[in-house]
């Protein structure tokens, strides 16, 4: 990370996950794989020491009868499941005699697990990363941090598993098909009683209920679902009643009870029967000033939502994110990760991911919007303004504005609460959907926007750099306007308006000083003049276009930003000029000298097509050309794949147009 960035990194305390995000981005560049099991013996030694640790833990936990043991159990559930999985992997390789020899107390261990309802109820996906950090006491074992057992595809670590399923598998490993002596028979019968206990015993102290159901001829499988449903709905109505009536209700729920309930949910959050209770807890606000729900509950629910194990109403999700900021940050990072690892340059898909994340809807609450926005800002700075992040931010903003309109025609919160540092009139102007304005009049709002931005950027003397960045950051949220500028300049035959030229130069290179920007504007204006002249020409050749784009002075002296802007103009020209279509392929082949530029062109085409769809622009021919070119280029890129994550990250090698976008923030 450049030192400038480090100084810039004013990571507010609530953004503690942003660092881990960056780490995870770095980690995903490396190919993640667990080392093959080099020494089985060593593995077993490791396992034995873990075994002792968990046996002690289980003895302390007993049957999860006290508050402290419940809490401790909940905290350790994921690690315990990882251990149990390792245990199974080891057991299935041994015959039961060896098992008993190696782990003489295995019976004690398994029996204790069978009596712990929290463990029996738990289900979670274990990721490879988690497994590598699953060591319960990192300091206890210094040299063996790597995971011992290797797993092929479809191994049990890669899927969702209930702890009790793994426990059952462990028990199955111990049972003898044909016991040879009374000792083995005894062991068999003991394991059978444990299995029966896990699966069917009615173990809570209401004997007559069990008798009644059996008397009616029902098996536990018949009445557990109904019983659980009734218990859950009773609790839900109790919570609602409490929430509405507060102190007046007779059955007032003590805060400790609510906490305890939320703790129970940690293990059971992915059980569909629990969804109503989870929802009721999230939307329940007690009458105490401090948070009554257990922090682990928020984490478990958030994870289940992100992994699509449950689906809750948006309102409940918003409550979750408002009550627990780390969850919101995790959700945002999860979205980022998904966007990064998904196929590049498919805005439709990006839109789907973003909408699917529920973040735009949740962002209608200003507090959530501002956190998510802050994280986008960090991501933009950390990736040196990567186009992928830029595009994601634009799509996010668009989805957010849609959600905002859908939620309330009249804004519930003032715009100022979403964009506290921007002038309201600028935000209002940017918030206008170009679609609502006739195409012929687009230059007017653009001019207006440009003037307002310019005033902020150039008008100030103090803090002007910072103001410049903030203005740019605000502007690029609204990709709809930013992308129109080049097209507008090309299509009008009149003298290109200064305001539009400025906006074009500013949006692509916000850090330039006014002198530098003026020079860019001059360059662009020259090329633009030539292109406008060629626009109506019936016969065009690739050379004409190259000549139009060529430098007036010696080659390669143009700044990178300027080169990029000219490519942008050329591409727009190819799509819109009647004679451009026939030479498009030739020109693009010539232009796409490097992989970076190819990606830039792909991005441009994808964005353009997406924008035309959004704005309902009727342009059958340009659309067809753009789509054909896009398909071709994508196919071309597919044959020479690059590490996408590395592409997003590793900008340090080749100078990127926005490499210094952070500098002016200083």
């Amino acid at each position: 990370m450049p030192t400038v960035l480090k100084q810039l990194w004013r990571g507010p305390p609530d953004l503690m996950y942003a660092h881990s995000f960056l780490q995870c981005m770095q980690a995903s560049v490396k190919v993640l794989h667990l080392l093959p099991s080099s020494a089985m013996a060593q593995d077993l030694v490791d396992l034995s020491s873990e075994y002792q640790f968990w046996l002690r833990k289980l003895s302390i936990w007993d049957q999860a009868s006290t508050l402290e043991t419940q809490q401790d159990t909940c905290v350790h559930l994921p690690q315990f499941q990882a251990f149990l999985s390792q245990m199974y992997e080891a057991l299935k390789e041994m015959d039961s005699n060896t098992v008993i020899e190696r782990f003489p107390t295995i019976g004690q261990l398994l029996a204790k697990i069978c009596w712990n309802p929290f463990i029996l109820a738990y289900e979670r996906k274990l990721t490879t990363q988690e497994l590598s950090i699953s060591d319960p006491e990192p300091t206890r074992r210094k040299n063996h941090t790597k995971l011992s057992f290797t797993h092929g595809p479809g191994c049990l670590f890669c899927e969702f598993n209930e702890s009790q399923k793994i426990l059952i598998w462990c028990l199955c490993c111990l049972i003898k098909k044909e016991p040879l002596n009374s000792g083995e028979s005894k062991l068999n019968s003991w394991i059978r009683s444990l299995l029966s206990h896990i699966l069917s015993a009615f173990r809570f102290d209401v004997k007559e209920v069990g008798l009644f159901c059996q008397g009616l001829g029902y098996a536990p499988a018949d009445y557990y679902p109904g019983l659980l449903k009734n218990m859950v709905s009773s609790l839900v109505s109790e919570l609602r009643e409490n929430h509405l009536n507060g102190f007046n209700t007779q059955r007032r729920m003590a805060p400790e009870r609510v906490t305890s309930l939320s703790r129970v949910c940690v293990a059971l959050v992915t059980l569909p029967d629990f969804e109503p209770l989870v929802e009721a807890l999230l939307t329940y606000h007690g009458h105490e000033p401090q948070e009554v729900l257990w922090p682990g509950f928020f984490e478990a629910v958030n994870e289940a939502i992100l992994l699509k194990k449950i689906s809750l109403p948006t309102l409940a999700v918003v409550c979750l994110w408002l009550r627990h900021l780390p969850s919101l940050e995790k959700a945002t990072l999860h979205l980022f990760e998904k966007l990064i690892s998904s196929e590049r340059n498919c805005l439709q898909r990006i839109e789907c991911f973003i909408k699917d994340s529920l973040l735009p809807q949740a962002a209608c609450h200003p507090a959530i919007f501002r956190i998510v926005d802050k994280m986008f800002r960090c991501a933009l700075l950390e990736t040196d303004g990567a186009p992928e992040v830029l595009v994601a931010l634009q799509v996010f903003t668009q989805c957010f504005v849609e959600a905002l309109e859908k939620e309330n025609k009249q804004l519930k919160f003032a715009l100022k609460t979403y964009f506290p540092y921007a002038s309201t009139s600028l935000v209002m102007a940017l918030l206008q959907n170009p679609k609502d304005i006739p195409q012929g009049l687009w230059h007017q709002p653009l001019k207006h926007i440009s003037e307002m931005l310019r005033e902020t950027v150039e008008g100030q003397t103090t803090r002007s750099h910072r103001g410049g960045f903030e203005s740019w950051f605000l502007f690029i949220h609204f990709g709809g306007w930013a992308d129109i500028v080049a097209e507008q300049l090309l299509m009008s035959e009149a003298e290109p308006p200064e305001a539009l030229l400025w906006l074009l130069a500013f949006s692509s290179s916000p850090h330039d000083g006014s002198q530098q920007r003026a020079q860019t504007m001059v360059e662009v204006k020259v090329v633009l003049g030539r292109l406008v002249k060629l626009f109506r020409s019936p016969t065009l050749s690739g050379q004409d276009l190259q000549a139009a784009a060529s430098e007036s002075r010696e080659a390669d002296s143009r700044p990178l930003v300027c080169q990029q802007l000219i490519r942008l103009l050329l591409l727009s020209f190819l799509l819109w000029a009647p004679g451009g279509h026939s030479i498009a392929r030739e020109v693009i082949t010539f232009m796409a000298q490097t992989e970076d530029i190819t990606h830039e062109i792909i991005g441009f085409l994808d964005q353009t097509l997406y924008r035309w769809d959004q704005l309902c622009i009727e342009a059958p021919r340009p659309r067809k050309v753009a789509r054909d070119l896009l398909t071709e280029l994508l196919a071309q890129v597919k044959h020479s794949p690059v590490d996408h994550v590395a592409a997003v990250q590793g900008r340090s090698g080749s100078p990127r147009p926005r490499d210094e976008c952070h500098e002016f923030v200083q």
Binding site: A64, P117, F118, L120, A121, G154, C155, L156, E159, E162, K165, I168, W169, C172, I175, K177, E178, N188, S189, L195, I198, L199, S200, A201, F202, F204, V206, E208, V209, L211, F212, C213, L216, G217, Y218, A219, P220, A221, D222, Y224, P225, G226, L227, L228, N230, M231, S234, L235, E238, R251, R257, V258, S260, R263, V264, A267, L268, L271, D273, F274
Partner: protein
């Protein structure tokens, strides 16, 4: 169709045997076949869920069989009682076999292999038996955990989850019994009465009688659920049964709390008349003890004055029509006794005075 029905019959027999010691003769192959049958029937359940005629035919056969089993002796668990139960017949079989200690080691070992093949993702969309069983176990733990922390009994009996669940099961069963045999419900209930803990049974009956009259379910949902739930019918069966069994009715009125009874009879006028009759009977057993200056029972099992008063008072508070009925009845007895206004002469006068000042 007939082969399918025979299959069904045969499987019901297997299911019945699965809880007995006969399974000691089963070998791994038998276990495998039994599970295969169960899987086949589950498939039938999924396949014909929306075929009204096939469902009806299957259910008829199940009911016939149930009736025959019922005659062979009380206490047999029905196993398959309706079309819906076909959907979980494999779990039922699996759990019964897992619990059956008579199953030999080799057969049990094979059962485990079949039920819990271990990790590895099957390609089918269908939920595996392993998943079903583990969800059952999760739910069991869930119930246990909720009981352990957070859950409190609901003071309103009919809303109490345990009672509510039992009510649902009872009404469902009553309806099936009603379909299977004409005099079924009453006989069935009497059989239950002999076998089950009585106080819990009474509480469940009371809660069932308190259910609000339900609106008819839409047809589609009925198809989906398999069991058309019309608790109304079941409730009428319960009322009829109680009215037919005076000894049980006495226990019902004697053992349940006053307020619960008052709300139950408030919903069912036929019961309120009997209840009122019983209360006056119990009242007649009391005589005025001049020395103590209060009404006392001749025998120890007689209802005390306080309890009697409490019951009348609850009735008066239950609903205005019930209150009128109670007061009119008491007035008429008071008139029969000579219409005294002085306390200590007629229990009815004293009850009316107490109620007058108390309400």
């Amino acid at each position: 169709m007939e082969p399918l029905l025979q299959h069904l019959e045969r499987f019901s027999e297997v299911l019945a045997v699965s809880r007995t010691t006969h399974v000691s003769t089963w070998d791994p192959a038998t276990v495998r076949r039994a599970l295969q049958w169960a899987r086949y029937l589950r498939h039938i359940h999924r396949r014909f869920g929306r075929h009204g005629r096939i469902r009806a035919a299957l259910e008829r056969r199940l009911h016939n069989q149930w009736r025959q089993e019922g005659r062979s002796g009380p206490g047999t668990a029905p196993g398959l009682t309706n079309f819906q139960s076909l959907g979980r017949c494999d779990i039922l079989l699996a759990v019964r076999l897992l619990d059956n200690r008579a199953l030999g080691h080799a057969a049990y070992h094979h059962l485990l292999q079949q039920l819990f093949p271990g990790p590895g993702v099957p390609d089918t969309d269908e939920e595996t038996l392993q998943d079903c069983l583990s969800r059952l176990a999760r739910r069991r733990s869930a119930v246990h955990m909720l009981h352990l922390c957070g859950y409190r009994e609901n003071p309103v009996v009919q809303e109490e989850s345990l009672v509510k669940t039992q009510v649902e099961l009872l009404l469902e069963r009553l309806q099936e019994v009603g379909k299977a045999e004409a005099e079924g419900p009453s006989k069935f209930l009497s059989r239950l009465w002999e076998r089950l803990p009585q106080n819990n049974f009474l509480k469940v009956i009371a809660a069932a009688l308190l259910l609000p009259p339900s609106s008819p379910r839409p047809q589609e949902e009925e198809l989906e659920l398999g069991v058309p739930q019309t608790p109304g019918e079941g409730r009428q069966e319960l009322v009829r049964w109680l009215l037919g069994k005076s000894d049980i009715m006495v226990v019902f009125c004697r053992n349940l709390p006053a307020r619960l009874l008052a709300s139950v009879v408030g919903r069912h006028p036929a019961l309120s008349r009997v209840y009122l009759g019983l209360l006056t009977d119990w009242g007649r057993h009391l005589h005025y003890d001049l020395q103590k200056g209060s009404w006392v029972g001749a025998e120890s099992q007689d209802l005390s004055w306080e309890e009697l008063y409490n019951r009348f008072q609850s009735l008066c508070q239950a609903s205005p029509p019930l209150k009128n009925e109670v007061l009119t009845t008491l007035e008429s007895y008071k008139a029969q006794d000579g219409d005294f206004e002085v306390p200590g002469l007629s229990i009815w006068t004293d009850l009316l005075l107490a109620l007058g000042s108390g309400t």
